[in-house]
């Protein structure tokens, strides 16, 4: 593992315009290639934290650096290039339901094309092959021409992962990726994320509320409560008692 962190939070605060504190004095580093799980109750700020990394949410003060570059000044093209190297998957999959799996997967590649080429769907043969290989990674090649809304939840999440792979991401952010899935498909999806982490060296940051899952997959667990980091330990040092504490209110 590289010693230099890929992502680093420095005194990050977020206060919403109505005065609610979203994030409070966040300070930590994420080393390249880590599988980090963020746990906490609903409303603890897990989603907000994740979305500050690709600037889907803005922070109020402090700085986040990615590969040693502060990201708060990015705008337009440079922001899009930042987002290109950070894949994101969501609780509700967020696929384009009326489109085919192929189009959904290819849509992960649009940031490599000028807008007019994306609009006309002028994807290169190499990228169409890349889409098939991405689907291979999630075991769904046979669904290439199926409409996304005909797939089960677990399959949709795998398509979403394939879409993310098209970005060639260095980081994958997963916001409650298994919250809408049954236990069996949960394992499949988490296994795929773990494999991408180990085989491709992609840094993976996952929000979960299941402690059991966190312990099973994480290299390190960060606990959030009321927008502040209240826990941060390598998996070897994590005990059951610690985790119950994070989930205690008050």
């Amino acid at each position: 593992m590289d010693q230099q962190p890929i992502i680093s939070f420095k005194n990050v605060n977020k206060i919403y315009s109505n005065g609610t504190v979203g994030l409070k004095d966040i300070n930590f580093d994420i080393p390249r290639g880590e599988f980090l799980v963020v746990v906490g109750l609903s409303g603890a700020g897990k989603s907000t934290l994740l979305r500050t990394i690709n600037r889907m949410h803005e922070i109020s003060s402090g700085e986040i650096t990615i590969e040693d570059e502060p990201i708060s000044s990015y705008k337009g093209q440079s922001l899009r290039l930042l987002r290109r190297k950070i894949g994101m998957i969501f609780q509700d999959f967020n696929l384009i339901k009326r489109s085919t799996v192929q189009r959904n997967v290819l849509s992960g590649r649009v940031s490599y094309y000028p807008t007019w080429k994306s609009v006309l769907s002028l994807f290169s043969t190499a990228d169409k092959d890349r889409a098939i290989r991405a689907l291979e990674r999630v075991n769904l090649t046979e669904k290439l021409y199926t409409r996304a809304d005909e797939l089960s939840g677990g399959q949709q999440q795998r398509v979403a992962i394939a879409r993310t792979l098209m970005q060639d991401p260095k980081v994958i952010l997963a916001d409650e990726p298994v919250a809408s899935l049954d236990p069996l498909t949960t394992q499949t999806v988490m296994d795929i994320l773990k494999r991408l982490n180990q085989e491709d060296g992609i840094t993976v940051i996952v929000n979960l509320h299941s402690v059991a899952l966190a312990r099973q997959y994480a290299d390190r667990i960060v606990g959030l409560r009321a927008g502040a980091v209240v826990y941060d330990k390598e998996i070897a040092d994590v005990t059951e008692a610690d985790l119950t504490k994070i989930y205690q209110t008050a």
Binding site: F90, R103, V119
Partner: protein, 264 residues
């Protein structure tokens, strides 16, 4: 067995204050506006025989008139298609800019909506009169009138559809690093396409009917013949024109139903 404790409904919930209040208000408005405008419902019934008289005279359609109106009917359909299409092409970007879930700048959105309100305020008869004055009698004036009328109507229908879409795919496309136009193309368009088509065809249908009225002002199409038959009191011909228009409207309706099923 103890009965579970059921929460008490509030007084206003128990007596349905809201529903009753709205009903009373609506009835009051209805009665009030008919008083103020002097609408005499009684007259409708006392003069009903004139209406039936007209219907009787229209009940013998002059079928020999059919071949004569085919050509102008064809022209009407062409005018409606052209006008609706031109209006739609301009309406799409305006609808996107007016949708509150896509454009967060209130001022821009407000400005666009003001323009749209203004366009919808202009009565189509006024537009037709102006364009007949500018372009002379003929279908050009009709097409432009229909285009502006369709623009106003479609842009409103479209932005209301856009505001109901699922924002999830937009978030995903944004996180991928897509540009605004790409996001709209990939994440918005597929969600609204079938409703767009259905509203387009609905507007086309309205335009076929509207163009019969515009013909009165010399804006071309079947309306010219409708006006002629009415001024000649030749109600058999009027009946044929109305029936022919009905056929066109029914065909558009059929196409619309079919496309909506296919595109769903």
């Amino acid at each position: 067995m103890t009965t579970p404790e059921i929460p008490q409904r509030s007084w206003s919930q128990r007596w349905h204050v809201k529903a009753v209040g709205w009903t009373v208000l609506l009835v009051a408005l209805l009665v009030g506006s008919s008083r103020m405008t002097g609408v005499d419902v009684g007259m409708f019934f006392s003069n009903f025989d004139q209406f039936t008289n007209l219907l009787v005279r229209m009940s013998q359609p002059a079928w020999s008139y059919v071949p004569i109106i085919i050509q102008p009917l064809y022209e009407t359909i062409q005018m409606a298609i052209l006008g609706t299409t031109i209006g739609t092409v301009f309406a799409v970007p305006f609808a996107v800019l007016a949708a509150s879930n896509l454009v967060h700048n209130q001022w821009l959105r407000g400005f666009i909506r003001l323009i749209l309100d203004l366009v919808r305020t202009l009565p189509d008869l006024l537009l037709a009169a102006i364009f007949v004055a500018i372009f002379g009698i003929g279908s050009t004036a009709g097409v432009i009138t229909l285009a502006i009328f369709s623009f106003g109507m479609i842009s409103k229908l479209f932005y209301e559809v856009i505001e109901t879409i699922d924002m999830g795919p937009l978030e995903a496309m944004e996180s991928v690093g897509a540009s605004k136009v790409t996001i709209i193309w990939y994440a918005v368009l597929p969600q609204i396409m079938n409703q767009f088509v259905s509203y387009f065809l609905y507007t086309l249908e309205i335009n076929v009917r509207a163009s019969t009225v515009l013909g009165y002002l010399g804006a071309g199409g079947i309306g010219v013949f409708l006006q002629r038959s009415l001024s000649e009191f030749d109600y058999g011909k009027t009946a044929v024109i109305i029936l022919a228009t009905l056929v066109v409207v029914m065909v558009i309706d059929g196409v619309s139903n079919h496309l909506r099923r296919v595109l769903l």
